[in-house]
Amino acid sequence: MLLYLVRRLLYVIPIGLAVSAICFSLVFLAPGDPLSAVLPADASLELIEKLKADYGFDRPIPVQFGKWVARAVQGDLGISIATGRPVNSELARAISNTFVLAFFACSFGFTLGLVLGFIAGYWNGTWLDKVVTSLAVAGVSVPHYWLGMVLVIIFSVFFNWLPATGMGAGGSSEWAWDWEHLQFVILPAVTLSVIPTAIITRTVRALVADILSREFVTALIAKGLSDRGVFWHVVKNAAPTALAVMGIQLGYLLGGSILVETVFAWPGTGFLLSVAIFQRDLPLLQGTILFLALFFVFLNLLVDMVQTLLDPRIRRT
């Protein structure tokens, strides 16, 4: 078991290196000059050359990559071209904002998904199941940005109950636990939670229906367990898969959603990424992609480990 964990952890190193190389070079595939966006149109050749040298863009790409990696492992991702602030601090703030959004979306989505999934699975085949299942299908099919805009039209424009964009009054990007800030998170969180809710509903429904149809459930009833006693067995059997799916969904949300964050102007990683792309802010773009890529590598590792810990059939072998 321990050996397995160590091996899995060691795998992360080559994967991480490969991922960062891809992140770094992908950006160079895009046409255009990274500095053109920030330079005035009439900038002298001299100035351009000087800036290029400052940012290191005049060196061969492998050298740039080497330097970038060397600094990245020390936690330095360079300076944002657009804002002049370290990519690190831009990223850190965006990450914490995305986490806030993901926290609300998950709390809402997982609770709803688990409840709906259990109901549909328990009453598998009844009208209740059919209603829930159709809702779930609608949930995964509806486009994020469209739903986001519909919610904004209803709750912000029409009823004027909730703010449409941003995460605080006056374009603030600092989170606080009060209604002033909470009201900003509701619409993006609900929008973001729709897909995880639907996916978890479907997963849990299938799991519960499958478990309930197994012979051992009959055996549990046969030994005199109450519905509540059986419920606990169903939960424990469903838990590894349900948790893994929730973990993956949480991961996706923590990675930030470009579409939802852009629609709601929520200053998280997804928003940062879209800003970096549109402004061709190379260091910011590379740093953000690297963070997100490594994040998903670790996320998969974590999901694997949790699943292993929870399922005795994997644990002992």
């Binding site: 051992f216 046969a222 367990l225 109450s226 059997n237 399922d311």
Partner: protein
């Protein structure tokens, strides 16, 4: 609990009928089964696949899917009207008064709980003891069913045991709360021949020690002879013949039983499957009005098709449902 006359049988099933409704069809799985069982008696139920053996046992434990099946008739066990039980009373009855061993032990244990947890769970439910006492009882039972290094096995998961071990553990689970009646649904069919014999011997030994009644369902005539005091032969959801093992085996009176026994070559009784009678059992969704065996019976005549033949007692509690017996009487 209602008072029980001293000579009342432990189990008294009368006119048990089970129907399943599925996509507009009604499957008549059990059609008027009646039998009594004395305390400590072992009834072997024989019959080919689909004859309603499992459904009968499941009806007795009330574990058929409630919304898709309808059960009528009466089932009395230890003085209780089983079909009238509900809620906590029903839960006390299941696993407390009557317990069941299933055919496939791998499928009948929850894969993510240890064997010890699953036995202890039942013990706590029925004996109202704490976790420690329940665990001790589980250990005692694993010892009792001769599982080697029982203490270690207590913390084993079902997939970590062999088929034979799991079936022993299933027996330990079923008997941990000292039921008065054990329902064994082909408990050895899924096992190797040598393991089968060990399990049969163990079951017989435990049955005597616990003094419980057993209903033992099997395909296997040899197994039935080995374990049972009495035999009931089922065909298309009816008991077509019943009597002491001796009577039924030596002088089978129903043509189906006769075919069944002659297809099982003497001296090679064990391990033989019932299949040598030509033809196949009737469609349970379209049961004929008369004797269900008629299409396969070489003695069939007009009156066989008119109504279901009544049970005729040929002496000493040996009964069969065949018009030939009425003619003889």
């Amino acid at each position: 609990m209602e008072p029980r006359a001293p000579d009342e049988p432990l189990v008294s099933v009368s006119d048990l009928t089970v129907r399943f409704s599925r996509t507009g069809q009604t499957i008549q799985a059990v059609n008027g089964v009646s039998f009594d069982l004395a305390p400590g008696e072992v009834l072997g139920v024989l019959g080919e696949s689909g004859s309603g053996k499992s459904v009968t046992l499941r009806a007795m434990l009330r574990i058929l899917p409630a919304h898709r099946s309808s059960v009528t008739g009466t089932i009395r066990v230890a003085g209780r009207d089983v079909l009238a039980l509900s809620g906590a009373e029903l839960e006390d009855y299941r696993g407390g008064t009557v317990s069941m061993i299933f055919q496939e032990p791998m499928l009948s244990f929850d894969p993510v709980f240890t064997i010890g947890q699953q036995i202890a769970e039942s013990v706590r439910r029925h004996m109202k003891v704490d976790q420690q006492a329940a665990r001790a009882r589980a250990l005692e039972m694993l010892d009792r069913v001769q599982i080697p290094s029982a203490k270690r096995r207590l913390d084993a998961y079902p997939h970590e045991m062999s088929g034979g071990m799991r079936q022993r553990a299933m027996i330990a689970l079923a008997l941990a709360c000292k039921p008065k009646l054990l329902l064994a649904d082909e408990p050895t069919t899924a096992l190797d021949a040598t393991v089968q014999i060990q399990i049969l011997l163990l079951l017989r030994e435990l049955q005597r020690e616990f003094g419980m009644s057993v209903i033992f369902v099997t395909h296997d005539v040899g197994v039935a002879i080995e374990v049972a005091d009495r035999i009931a032969v089922m065909y298309a959801g009816r008991i077509v013949e019943t009597g002491s093992v001796r009577e039924v085996i030596r002088t089978p009176r129903h043509p189906y039983t006769q075919g069944l026994l002659s297809s099982t070559v003497r001296g090679e009784l064990r391990g033989q499957r019932i299949e040598a009678i030509p033809g196949s059992p009737p469609d349970l969704a379209a049961m004929p009005p008369g004797c269900a065996f008629a299409p396969r019976c070489k003695h069939a005549r007009d009156e066989c098709l008119r109504a279901v033949p009544g049970a005729v007692d040929v002496g000493g509690g040996h009964e069969a449902r065949c018009v030939l017996l009425k003619l003889a009487a």
